[in-house]
Symmetry: C2
Subunit: 201 residues, 2 copies
């Protein structure tokens, strides 16, 4: 018997909608007997490739977006505190993700959840090396080792290749999901993904 | 007893997500005992004010958007045929809307539905004057009268003022909904609007 195909889930540690989606994607997939393959990416890189910008970079859209982040979290039942500074560069959190992923994808997923929750509920600034390594230490990665991983050309390069692969797969934002070749963009595509997995296509 | 407050619904005749939303907004509002106030606007004008562009103007986003238009319509149970040309200028369809609205808002809403359905199920090019006046004639507006309304400075000016009012109200895309002061952007906010109207805020 074949293993059921994984759902690809692309997220950025600084993306509110990625955070919200990260809280439901595995449970939703499990209801359909599907595993989830998590991919840490840098939204800034995909925005650049697609000639897009963050919604909060547009003055009129910013106010709405901040409101919608909080409302969408509330309606999903996910705790949410708007962090400041926001958005933040997340390459170091993502490098740690790919480092863990190389040997233990489930632990990488746990790290992703820990990072997203820390930023979006406690405002832990993942772009600040001492805050990041402090969080890593809480998670069980010695701070010094975490700092070494972030500075290691191997993981810098790995993240670069993963970003390129995401762009090649058509990813232009986050969260982004690919289910059996079908692309879904946004936390708000949850019910469509659920129906798609039920065979309602 | 006060009349229940209307939901403001902003749409553009060339917006696929506006079309899909136009097919559910009145039924959803009616379930909550609410009337709906329709507003024909020009997305190009709101995009300009917000420094935004249409999603289909971004190469990487275009392919996804076209797919998502059709999928979103299908999942909503709304017939949909991708029109060509697309997008189209819709100022004339919108002027006819505001002309009807001045004396009979319900009939203006019917015209909006007729125009959206004609464009998104039969590809009737609302930017083509003879196609537009032909549709108007089917709807019961003599073609010559429709052409006069479209050329009349009164309705050009009315549409301009309605666009300005929408921008002043914070509208930067379509469909856009304002419910008791709360803004919702996108066909995909349907369930949030439903829950908001149920008192789940």
């Amino acid at each position: 018997m074949n293993r059921p195909a994984a759902i690809d889930f692309y997220f950025d540690f600084s993306s509110p909608y990625s955070y919200i989606a990260s809280e439901w994607i595995n449970a939703l997939a499990a209801r359909h007997g599907r595993p989830v393959r998590w991919h840490a990416i840098l939204l800034g890189v995909t925005f650049q490739a697609a000639e897009l910008r963050s919604p909060v970079s547009y003055p009129l859209k910013r106010e709405y977006s901040l409101r919608d982040f909080a409302r969408s979290a509330r309606m999903e039942g996910v705790p949410y505190v708007m962090p400041s500074p926001f958005p933040i560069p997340t390459q170091n959190a993502a490098r740690l993700f790919w480092w863990l992923d190389a040997t233990d994808p489930a632990r990488a997923t746990d790290w992703a959840r820990a990072g997203l929750r820390a930023f979006f509920t406690r405002g832990v600034d993942l772009s600040n090396m001492s805050a990041l390594t402090g969080l890593a230490a809480e998670f069980g990665i010695p701070a010094e080792q975490a700092a070494q991983v972030c500075a290691d050309p191997i993981w810098k390069d790995k993240l670069r290749r993963e970003n390129d692969a995401a762009i090649a797969a058509g990813v232009f934002g986050a969260p982004f999901f690919i289910v059996d070749g079908e692309p879904f963009w946004g936390n708000d595509r949850k019910s469509q993904i659920d129906r798609w997995l039920s065979g309602d296509r």
